[in-house]
């Protein structure tokens, strides 16, 4: 079988489509799926006031509508996603605490390789007294193979507080077609 290597395939001038011949199968046209993909849940009990802690996240081992780990790249023991290959990855993350006072803040932050200078952070401020505050964000991050991503949270209620399990989460996937 011969191999044809080209940079671009386009339609004939004046036409808008490129069609495969009868019986042909389209395979290998780039990474058409956004894999790996994961979504994990967790929290952190008794978080000290004004202090970053790494969220204890886990994939339960059996995929369901709230948790999955397609590609097996989430390290449950260390609560981190490990990139299997270089590329652009999209992460969405939420950290949830119950606040007590107006202007209490909740922070959500992802870090690459435990480097606070290589991080993406968002904070959400309470607007009243006791509220359930979700600090949420999405970030597209370029990772090298074996880079790892972890979720950190912080709260400023003045006292220790629990990052709410089931509402604190991180999800992500590799962006297909970008390199």
């Amino acid at each position: 079988m011969s191999k044809l290597e080209v940079r671009e395939i386009g339609p004939i001038s004046g036409e808008t489509e490129v069609r495969l011949a009868d019986g042909a199968t389209a395979v290998g046209f780039g990474d058409g799926n956004n894999m790996p993909s994961f979504r994990v849940l967790g929290g952190y009990p008794n978080t000290p006031n004004g202090t970053y802690v790494k969220m204890k996240l886990e994939y339960g081992g059996v995929p369901d509508p709230t948790r999955w780990d397609v590609g097996d790249n989430f390290d449950n023991n260390n609560n981190r996603f490990i990139a299997p290959e270089e590329g652009y990855y999209s992460f969405s993350y939420v950290v949830t605490y119950n606040t007590k006072n107006p202007s209490d803040r909740v922070f959500a932050q992802i870090r690459v390789n435990d480097n606070a200078n290589n991080s993406w952070q968002v904070n959400q401020r309470a607007t009243g007294g006791a509220q359930r505050i979700n600090a949420l964000n999405t970030a597209v991050v370029y990772l090298q193979e074996n880079d790892y991503v972890e979720l950190f949270g912080m709260q400023e209620t003045g006292d220790p507080a629990d990052a709410r399990s089931g509402e604190t989460l991180m999800s992500g996937f590799k962006l297909a077609g970008l390199s």
């Binding site: 000290p48 006031n49 004004g50 202090t51 970053y52 802690v53 790494k54 606070a116 400023e156």
Partner: protein, 85 residues
């Protein structure tokens, strides 16, 4: 020692001046951003006492406000005021 309260008592602000972290074995200063030198443990401990005094003064002020306002309120309104403040 409560590092957050100590640093706050010394006038430093979270995120702007410092960043704390806890890996499960106690809180520590992970990053120091302030142009001022990072305080010693002794200074932080002193700051904690300042913070406590500030909090007590604030609570005294709060109670004073409630007492003054309550003079014109019904018991139910006073109870709600205490809840809100």
């Amino acid at each position: 020692m409560n590092i957050y309260n100590g640093l706050t008592g010394l006038g430093f602000k979270n995120i702007e001046d410092f960043s704390l972290r806890d890996d499960g074995e106690g809180v520590y200063i992970e990053k120091w951003f302030s142009p001022a030198p990072q305080p010693t443990d002794e200074e932080i401990s002193n700051g904690e006492q300042t913070f406590s005094a500030q909090q007590e003064a604030r609570e005294t002020l709060r109670q004073s406000m409630i007492t003054k306002l309550a003079a014109t309120l019904t018991p139910e309104e006073t109870a709600l005021l205490e809840e809100l403040l």
